[in-house]
């Protein structure tokens, strides 16, 4: 569908991720490393889950439609579980990495906290997931044709782009919630992330009834966003202050809503660097 659609869909799908990367990750090399490693972990989980699905499909009868549909559903669910398993593995790895960083640092403090790592890992997962969802669509969107000759919906590219955007956000928030749950041994947070992921992936089976997949996904994203915000030290009061453009001079008050562990600022820049 030509260049206009190509750029439009690219910006829709990857615009917010680009903003997150440019302003919060790009300046710190350590965060870039964690981002790329996180993307790689997601890639490996996709490799394994697609291998399983591929073997299952090749071993089955290609003419049997309900079986193929069932295999697809199984494949998607298996992939979700495998991705969350790799998220856990990555958490374990990053935990070990923090010990190493503490040992290497001059003042005994790690230059980056586990919450910051959680956020960056989430963005890494999201970016790689978005790339795999969107790149081949973008490549085909450069040609002169649009989807529809076999009766599919014309809005295929647009809805895919919006779905990719919401998925990148979701992975970011799930990273924060998941790592928080692992850190504080709150297994129900981990379970909630897995259930949310399964819900969103499952809702895509409603396609091409796009309202059935996009609306629930955006609702889940709003929920996850609020939850992650609260877990990162946010509160309704902070939000009001931000929106009313107040300054940060009042932050020395004992925060009434802070979570029990006092999180440092998630997105703040070099505050956390070793002196």
């Amino acid at each position: 569908m030509t260049l206009a659609v190509f750029f439009g869909c690219t910006f829709i799908a990857f615009g917010p991720a680009l903003g997150l990367f440019l302003f919060t990750i790009a300046r710190d090399p350590l965060r870039i490393i964690i981002l790329i490693a996180g993307a790689f972990f997601w890639l490996v989980s996709l490799l394994l889950s697609s291998l399983i699905w591929f073997i299952a499909v090749k071993a089955s009868n290609p003419q049997d439609e309900p079986l193929q549909k069932g295999l697809l559903i199984f494949g998607v669910m298996f992939s979700v579980l495998l991705q969350e398993a790799f998220r856990f593995l990555y958490y374990k790895l990053l935990r070990k990495a923090i010990e190493g960083l503490v040992a290497l640092s001059e003042d005994g403090c790690s230059p980056i906290s586990i919450q910051q790592m959680a956020y960056v890992a989430g963005v890494g997962f999201g970016l790689m997931s978005g790339a795999f969802s969107m790149i081949n669509l973008l490549a085909d969107s450069l040609g002169p044709g649009t989807v529809g000759i076999h009766g599919d919906s014309q809005l295929y590219f647009l809805t895919s782009a919006f779905m990719t955007m919401v998925l990148i956000f979701l992975h970011t928030f799930w990273g924060i919630i998941f790592f928080h749950g692992c850190e504080h041994r709150r297994w129900w947070e981990i379970a909630a992330v897995v259930i949310m992921h399964l819900t969103v992936s499952g809702s895509t089976f409603c396609n091409p009834l796009y309202v059935g997949s996009l609306v629930p996904s955006y609702l889940v994203m709003a929920t996850a966003a609020a939850w992650a915000y609260v877990l990162s030290g946010g509160s309704a009061q902070n939000l009001r202050r931000f929106l009313l453009c107040k300054s940060s001079a009042w932050l020395w008050q004992p925060p009434e809503n802070s979570s029990g562990l006092g999180n440092p600022s998630l997105l703040a820049l070099p505050q956390a660097e070793p002196k």
């Binding site: 659609v5 439009g8 790689f40 073997i55 040609g143 014309q154 202050r241």
Partner: protein
């Protein structure tokens, strides 16, 4: 994880290294898995692409051909031409394309009956047409259709302002009055032929669903569109494209050749064997029998050529077989050379090259050796079983030539007694029709005759078109026959051509000095019928399979067509060679090694004979074949225009036809969205990008407001 194809068939080729902790077992396992994944995965078609495009597989393009001064054919832009489809089934539909339609440019789907000069001139003159797809008309247009010239091969025959000017440029007789000259026009948009009626129906259905105006208003987006790719590399003329190709070949590291000359091989065989690498004595006289074996149409590689080529060379092959069966051929005074010229459609490539080789002593024979010349042109559509004999009136003004021509005509006339063929002279007022004989006449005044089924204009109303099919020569088979039965069934056309072949064979026998009765010389209608079936309907039949070499099985795959092409030899040349070898050669008792290397055996006389190890026929109850060795006098001689040997690319004396090169030729249909939707998508994308950049910037700048820092400001991490 969305349920979309993003993680489909092939497994990803990720770098190895899943486990962080250096456990060797883990690494080995992962490596093994990766290898299995890479080995198992095979790339299928991209499924998003399959959602968007429907490829059209059974199409034939119109390609660009060039000669010394012009380019003909069609050209598309380098990334294909796209247009909204409009189906034109009657002339009134054209006005939508030319003036009324609101979404130019259009890709016209033209009904075959409207593919004529008038419509094409209209389409050529407008910029609202981005391409054309022609649906082949079934049945063939009754008024005739010929995209060839009215005066074929004009300027390259014998008649010019210096020789018989009253006959030059078809002043006296227009040979192809139905000819529109469409093949020789230059179009700036691509033109494709839709061969498959099912694909045409798919396109028409898409048009009906999306492009037809409803309720008086214009059709709305999304619209059904088609894209045709046929970008040609050569431009302007042969002079330009050959110059550019030779510059590239000389100076460039990675040469980009843009065109190739049309070339192939002539097939020739003699009744008595001659030394193909030596020279024949000037006293030995040879009678040349000639036919052409190629044809052409508007579209590339579509040239059924039933009446224009196949009928004549099949008759020629049958006559050769009949002659070889005569008992006393080795006693004949004169030799007979059966010659099959390739490339005659394009200004006599094969015959001009043979004349050139004869003049320059590169061919075993010289022009002095030629006693007379008999040519068979289109012979299948005889009216009242009359076969016309054409001679050249200008050369006959010479007394000695006239005597020999008269002798030739008498022998032919006497050979037709008893056969259902009436030979009549075309007369002194008629020039020769376009024939290979004209090239020989240019060099020497040889007595000769051209046999055709027409006196003035062609009987063939589909000369050099895609409609010159078996139906044109009235080949009919009864219903319900299996391929084997169809191969063996003798049609009326075959019987009629066999009679012509009998007359020709008998006449040749007499011409060569044979004194005995000719009643035993008979062409076999079954052979003629099998050849017609093989060359016109199905090349992959049991007879052809049994007479070719084992490594040439691949040439029997396609629908038969006879375009000369640029890669040689083409299927037709191979098959004519092997059929001739089978019909005129002898089976010798050689083993496979002896047959493939005959120079090692004594008495094999490799300069005189050609040895071929052929597959043989299938045993009735087994799957293996019984191959054998065939010895024949069949040879190939290069049919490349002398203009390319002499590097005179602008020559007006020899044929200079070349064919352009190209990268890809394909066609596909899809839906296009409106420009407004595309711009909206872009604007939404830009808006989201800008908004998210701004939001992220502000959230980051005010992060300390949004996220409460802990009570102990020093504790940054655990």
């Amino acid at each position: 994880m969305a349920a979309r194809r993003a993680w489909g068939g092939p497994a990803m080729a990720a770098a190895a290294g899943g486990c962080w902790a250096p456990l060797p077992a883990c690494l080995r396992l992962l490596r093994g898995l990766l290898l299995a994944a890479l080995a198992a995965g095979s790339c299928q078609g991209n499924s998003v692409e399959r959602k968007i495009y429907i490829p059209l597989n059974k199409t034939a393009p119109c390609v660009r051909l060039l000669n010394a001064t012009h380019q003909i054919g069609c050209q598309s832009s380098i990334s294909g031409d796209t247009g909204v489809i409009h189906v034109v089934e009657k002339e009134e539909d054209l006005s939508w394309v030319l003036a009324d339609g609101p979404h130019p440019p259009y890709m016209v789907l033209l009904d075959g009956s409207l593919f004529n000069r008038r419509v094409m001139q209209q389409l050529k003159g407008t910029s609202r047409v981005s391409g054309l797809a022609v649906a082949i008309a079934k049945p063939s247009p009754p008024q005739g259709f010929s995209p060839g010239l009215k005066c074929p091969n004009d300027g390259f025959g014998v008649y010019s302002k210096d020789y018989g000017p009253q006959f030059a440029h078809c002043n006296k007789t227009v040979w192809n009055p139905v000819g529109s000259g469409l093949s020789y026009e230059d179009f700036h948009f691509p033109i494709f032929l839709l061969e498959d009626a099912n694909e045409t129906q798919v396109i028409k259905q898409c048009y009906q669903d999306h492009n037809v105006p409803r309720d008086g208003s214009g059709p709305e987006y999304p619209l059904c569109a088609m894209q045709l790719f046929s970008h040609m590399h050569a431009v302007t003329s042969t002079v330009t494209c050959m110059r550019r190709s030779s510059l590239q070949s000389t100076f460039s590291i990675n040469p980009e050749v843009v065109c190739d000359p049309l070339l192939d091989y002539n097939v020739w065989s003699t009744l008595h064997p001659i030394n193909s690498s030596g020279k024949v004595d000037p006293e030995k006289e040879v009678i040349i029998v000639a036919t052409r074996i190629d044809s052409h149409s508007f579209f590339w590689n579509i040239a059924p050529g039933a009446e224009s080529a196949v009928s004549s060379f099949v008759t020629h092959l049958a006559a050769a077989e009949a002659l070889h069966k005569a008992s006393d051929v080795h006693l004949l005074q004169r030799n007979i050379m059966f010659t099959f010229f390739q490339g005659e459609t394009f200004d006599y490539i094969g015959s001009s090259r043979m004349v050139y080789d004869m003049e320059k002593d590169k061919f075993p024979l010289r022009l002095d050796n030629i006693h007379s010349f008999v040519e068979l042109n289109q012979v299948a559509l005889r009216n009242d079983s009359v076969l016309w004999m054409h001679t050249d009136p200008v050369s006959r003004m010479n007394e000695s030539v006239d005597v020999q021509v008269r002798n030739l005509l008498d022998i032919l006339g006497s050979s037709s007694l008893g056969a259902n063929v009436t030979l009549q002279e075309a007369g002194f007022s008629q020039p020769l029709p376009p024939s290979s004989f004209q090239r020989f006449l240019r060099a020497r005044h040889i007595p000769g005759v051209v046999l055709t089924d027409h006196r003035t204009a062609f009987q063939n109303r589909y000369y050099q078109s895609m409609y010159d099919t078996p139906e044109n020569i009235r080949m009919q088979y009864p219903e319900g026959l299996s391929p084997e039965e169809t191969l063996e069934y003798v049609t009326d056309t075959a019987k009629s051509l066999a009679e012509v072949a009998t007359v020709v064979a008998r006449a040749l026998y007499r011409l060569a000095g044979g004194a005995n009765s000719t009643s035993a010389i008979q062409a076999d209608p079954r052979t003629v019928s099998r050849m017609l079936y093989g060359f016109l309907i199905k090349m992959n039949n049991s007879w052809f399979q049994s007479i070719i070499k084992p490594d040439l099985k691949g040439i029997l795959g396609d629908v038969p067509q006879h375009y000369v092409a640029v890669s040689s030899p083409v299927n037709t040349t191979y098959l004519v060679q092997y059929v001739l070898a089978n019909l005129t050669g002898t089976v010798v008792n050689f083993t496979k090694e002896e047959c493939l290397n005959p120079e090692k055996s004594p008495n094999s006389e490799t300069e005189m004979y050609d040895y071929a190890w052929v597959q043989g026929s299938l045993d009735p109850n087994s799957t293996s074949r019984v191959p054998y060795c065939v010895r024949s006098t069949v040879h190939l001689s290069k049919a490349l225009s002398p203009a390319f040997e002499l590097r005179q690319w602008g020559s007006t004396e020899y044929s200079t036809w070349t064919e352009s090169r190209w990268k890809e030729i394909r066609a596909r249909i899809f839906l296009v969205a409106s420009r407004e939707l595309e711009i909206i998508t872009l604007l939404v994308g830009i808006a989201i990008l800008v908004f998210s950049l701004l939001a992220t910037y502000f959230i980051n700048a005010k992060a300390d407001v949004l996220f409460s820092i802990p009570q102990d400001p020093g504790a940054v991490a655990y």
